[in-house]
Structure formats: C-alpha cells, structure tokens
C-alpha cells in the first residue's frame, strides 16, 4: 500500500477533470506520449525517462497524487495548438510538473534521478 495515489489519465479533458476532483492535494503530473499495445511510447525520451521517474516515486510526499497522463498520438502532440501546449504551457514530452507551482522538469531534465527526487522531496 503506497503512501501516494497514482492516477492514469488519457488526454487533456480527462486530466483536467481528474485534477479538479483532487484539489487540495499535492499533485504531481507526468506527461508522456501515448503508449502502444507493447507498452512503448512513440516518444523515445518518454521511454527513457519513465523508469527513472518511477524509480524515485518512493520519495513522493505522503498523501500526494501522481498523475500519469498520456497526451495523445504524435500528430496531436506536434500540433502547436493542442490544449496541453496552449493551456498548460507544456513545451515538450516528457514533462514532470508539480501542479500549481513553478516546479517542472522538461525532457532531458527528467533523465536525472537527482532532479526528480529534488522535486518530489521539495517543501
């Protein structure tokens, strides 16, 4: 029984709905390109970062919520007007954010376990 809750969502609307249901919690969100049936994403950086991020999840604060959000297929992501880019201001995948704070790690920053741990353990 882990001390955090993992929520898997797919797409912008599902993400927003799930976040609004959990206001008041410490929310972390990991955005990744869609996973195929083999469990691999079209985004090679996401494939590389995921095990590193997962490796640090034991450091998540007690009672926090970790969203694993698949953003969509490659063409959707490449469209500069997609909701993630426009509204959430994401610039790339993978992105790891602490919702409601300026804390975020983008692309290669997610490869660094130290940085991921720093975000999870920051006060």
């Amino acid at each position: 029984m882990s001390h955090y809750e993992e929520v898997k969502v797919h797409g912008y609307d599902e993400f927003c709905k799930a976040v609004s249901e959990r206001k008041g919690n410490d929310i972390f969100a990991y955005f990744s390109g869609d996973i195929d049936t083999q469990g691999l994403s079209w985004c090679p950086d996401c494939v590389k970062a995921e095990p590193i991020v997962r490796g640090e999840m034991s450091h998540l604060p007690e009672g926090s919520v970790f969203f694993y959000c698949q953003v969509g297929e490659r063409p959707y992501w490449k469209d500069p007007n997609n909701e993630f880019k426009k509204t959430l201001k994401l610039s790339g995948v993978p992105t790891l954010i602490r919702y409601g704070t300026p804390q975020k790690l983008v692309e290669e920053e997610c490869f660094k376990a130290d940085l991921v741990r720093m975000m999870f353990t920051e006060d």
Partner: protein, 534 residues
C-alpha cells in the same frame, strides 16, 4: 556505522544522499565516511555566489555552494538566488511595472481606449504573480545547481568559520535543527576546501533605537512577500530602496509618505535626485522632509501611530499608517560567520570585509566579493562579473581583475533616473568647476503630449571636461525607460566617449534617447535649456 541514506534526511542535506563523504558529528557520535576536498566552497547563493560557483564548476572545479536565509523579523524567508532574485531587483522591477501600467491605463483613455469605470488595483493578484515568478527563478537555480554536480547545502542556521589550516580552510557549520520531536539537535559538518569565497551580501537595517520600530515595522525583505496590501504606508528613508518602494506603492493607488532625514539619494547627483523627488511629489507621494521618527505604537484598532520630530520647527508630529517600511540602510551579513576567529579583517564602521583588487581578504585562500566587500558597489551586475572573474582566476584561467569603474545604474522610481560616470558635484570636486562643462536639456517625451502629462522633470545632463577633447565624465537622464536609454550610452562611456562622439552620433527619431545626441546648451551660458519641437 549508520547508513547515511537514512540519517541524511535529518540533517536536511537533500541532494546528497548517495554520497555523503563528509564527517558528521551528532551528539558527539562521529559518523566518519571519508574526507572530501573541494576546490571551492562558496558561502552565499545570491547573484555573486551563484555566478562564481557556476563559472567554477564549468571550468571543472569541484564546488560546494552554501545558502542560508535568516528569516526577517517578520518571519519572511525565501529560496536560493539571494537579494536580487527574492527581495530586490526582480520583484521591485515587476511591482514598478505594475505601477507604470496603472499610469499607462490612465493615459490610454486620451489615446482613445474606452475604459469603462474607475480602475483599481488588487495587491494579492500582483503579489501572487510576482512571487510565482520569483519561485520559478528559485527552481531554475536549483535545477542548474543540481545539474552541475554541485553539492548544495541548505543551512538552517549558522555558518561559523572555525579554523584555518595551511592550504585548506576548514569550515565548521553548526546548526541547531528542530526535528520531529521538537528537540534541538546540533549538527556539525566539516567541509575542506582549497579556496573559500564569501558572498553573503547584506540585509536591511532596523533602527533599533526607535521604540516600536522592530516590533511594528517591516523592511524590503517583507514588502514583496506580503499576501495583503500594506495599505497606507510610511516609508522611512531616502535611499533608492525607499524611493522605489514608495514610488510603486503610490503608483498602485496606496497613500504613501516618504520620511527623509536630510537629502534624497545620497551619493547620487543631487540635482537629478531633486528632479526624481519633485516628480514623485507631483504624482501623489507625500514627502515629510527633515523629519526624524521618534516612536511607533500600535493602536487598539490595529493601525500604527508614528511620532516624529520635524527638525525645522523642532516640534513633534503624529500620524497613523497601516504599515511602516524601514529603508534606512543595509548591514553586511558577517556576524554569524565568526570571521574574527579566522582573522578576516573587517572595516570597523561598515562591518564589511576588507578586500583587495583581486577580491582577496586578509587571510590567504579566503576571498570576498559582492555587497559584502568594503567599497564595492551594491549591485547585481558587478557581483556577477566579479564572481565570474574570480572563479576564472582561481582556476588559473586568467589574471583579469574586475573593473569597478564606469558602472551604469538606474533608479526605478516613477520617473526613472539612469546615469553613468560622475555626478556634477563629484566632477567639480575632482576637476574644478572651471575645468568642466555641463550640457543640459529639459525635453518632453513625445508620448506625454497626447497623454497631457507634465514633463517638467524630464531632463538630460552631460558633464564633460572643458576644452580639449571634452571627454564625457558623467551622463544623467531622467525619463521613461531610463535603464534602456542609459545602457547603450554606458558602452560609449566605457570607450572613453567625448562630447564630439556624442554630437557625431545621429539620433533615432522620435525617441527620448536622441535628446542626448542633441545637447548643446551649457549651464555656463545661462541660456534656456528647454528643447523646442523638431
């Protein structure tokens, strides 16, 4: 021996779990894991400290950065980045911008914008936006430090320089920490380093001799982090900190008074300082000249009652305010470093560290720069540049020393004032009144015309050597975007610009900056210096 991975969360050396090869003393029990030599330990994670340590790391040095923020009297504290990022330049400029936008909104109507209803300002919205930006800068620094294999120590309390030993300075950091059981624990961590750099900067002073000053007043450490509006505010002081704060508070619609003991902007050209304060008075900031605060009391209603002496009449005056902001000077952060024990010499009056041209102190291998250095400008860009050069020298990459001359600055008051070089008084004092020629002009920014704004204080002054090549000794500008205007001219100044160079430069039209290239009326001639239309 205990696994440091478990004990490290207690000592709050986050980012250091994997390899804590340092000696830790806990209640007399030593957990020795091995010694670690750093090439450089930088004390202070502000503008200077971060620039120095990042440069050193990029040059392949093993660097440790220590940062600690003693909470202000009111309890305000902040993340890494130092004064500039957290309680100085950055939030100041953003709030100044908020105030300018208020003025712009008023002007906008004259330009045809239909603005329904009166315009009001919400402090909380501004404060949250500013604070979020500052937090993003804190985060950015943290990511950068982590990225560069730094060892970043977040000290909770005191750093004490305990011993000095040959080529290695041993720093003893003592910190009482309150852990879960609320029992104070004393941790001592020893770092050894080839060179140590002190860049701890300064903090605002409280006038502790004034009853009620500490209990009821705030400083620039607090103003940018207030969650609610400070309301009717008394700003005590006449430094640029005081005037800039009073300026943006007035600009966002708060009733603001500045209490000045003697002169505004000491050290700056006094004619220019007068123009700055004249503009502020015309735009709604109240000034209480020649006044010295006597006491601050909190009334039952919660407001603060300030009693002060009017030095001209000798009589006492009284008024109430929601907030009192002390901007009466800054003190260097050296007290908790225990520098006397190591022999680092300080200036007795200022308390700042005595430094040589290469930032070295009286103790070999210990350096100091930034606000903490005696005689140094208290500015971010000089600290950053000095820090980078110091890092390069320590890494053996260069012999270049920091050039502290010809540094341009800007005061971000409602009417901004930018300058580079000498004030008129300083030029007179150094060269003699007869050996200098002062060219000047009162101009009107084009944008003020339609907005029907008063430009009486928009002014330019170029102080030159008289005769010969008429080298420019000082350049002064009050007007919108003074910082942007002055920066370019600062380069000319650095290159030894003369009046001829200035006059040979063709202006960009229509701008305020071009008026600098058009100065031709000298003070000596007594002619009217008002610029007429083009």
């Amino acid at each position: 021996m205990s696994n440091l991975r478990h004990t490290c969360w207690l000592c709050l050396l986050w980012s250091h779990y994997q390899h804590c090869p340092i000696e830790i003393e806990w209640h007399g029990i030593w957990f020795v894991t091995g010694t670690f030599d750093y090439d450089l330990v930088v004390i202070g994670g502000g503008s200077g400290g971060l620039a120095c340590s990042k440069e050193a790391a990029q040059l392949g040095q093993k660097v440790a950065v220590l940062d600690y923020v003693e909470p202000s009297v009111k309890g305000t504290k902040w993340g890494i980045g130092g004064t500039c990022v957290n309680v100085g330049c950055i939030p100041k400029k953003l709030m100044h911008q908020a105030a300018l936008l208020g003025t712009a909104l008023k002007d906008a109507q004259k330009y045809g914008w239909q603005i329904p209803g009166p315009i009001s300002h919400d402090w909380s919205t501004m404060a949250e936006a500013v604070q979020n930006h500052v937090r993003s800068l804190n985060w950015g620094h943290r990511v950068q430090l982590q990225d560069n294999l730094f060892f970043f120590y977040e000290l909770l309390f005191h750093t004490i320089l305990k011993e000095y030993n040959f080529n290695t300075a041993i720093l003893h950091f003592v910190f009482p920490i309150e852990v879960i059981m609320s029992l104070p624990l004393v941790w001592q961590i020893m770092l050894t380093a080839k060179n140590i750099v002190i860049a701890t900067g300064g903090r605002p002073k409280y006038p502790t001799h004034i009853p009620g000053a500490v209990e009821h007043g705030i400083t620039s450490d607090d103003i940018f982090w207030l969650k609610e509006s400070p309301g009717k505010t008394l700003v005590v002081g006449a430094s640029y900190v005081a005037l800039e704060c009073a300026g943006f508070l007035t600009g966002i619609g708060l009733e603001t008074t500045v209490m000045v003991r003697s002169i505004p902007l000491r050290g700056f050209d006094q004619q220019m300082a007068g123009l700055v304060t004249d503009y502020m008075e015309a735009y709604g900031t109240k000034f209480s000249w020649r006044s010295v605060p006597k006491s601050v009391d909190k009334l039952s209603s919660g407001v603060l009652q300030v009693t002060w002496t009017d030095e001209q009449t000798g009589k006492d005056q009284r008024d109430t305010f929601d907030s009192v902001l002390w901007a009466v000077g800054r003190a260097p952060e050296t007290k908790t470093l225990g520098l006397e024990k190591v022999g680092v010499k300080l200036n007795k009056e200022s308390g700042k560290i005595l430094v040589a041209a290469d930032e070295s102190t009286s103790v070999p291998n210990i350096y100091a720069f930034g606000d903490i250095g005696e005689g140094r400008p208290e500015l971010t860009p000089t600290a950053i540049k000095a820090g980078k050069l110091l890092a390069r020298r320590l890494a053996g990459q260069t012999n270049e020393l920091m050039n502290y001359d010809n540094v341009a600055t800007t005061v971000f008051t409602p009417l901004e004032y930018g300058c580079v070089g000498l004030s008129e008084e300083e030029a007179e004092s150094r060269h003699g009144k007869d050996s200098i020629e002062v060219y000047h002009a009162f101009y009107k920014p084009l944008e003020f015309t339609v907005a029907e704004r008063d430009a009486s204080q928009c002014y330019i002054k170029v102080v030159c050597k008289r005769g010969g090549d008429q080298r420019i000794l000082g350049l002064h500008f009050t007007g919108p975007n003074a910082g942007e205007v002055t920066q370019g001219f600062a380069m000319g100044f650095q290159c030894g610009a003369t009046l001829t160079h200035l006059k040979e430069t063709v202006g960009i039209h229509p701008t305020c900056a071009e008026e600098l290239t058009k100065v031709n009326v000298s003070k000596r001639s007594g002619l009217d210096a008002t610029v007429t239309g083009c």
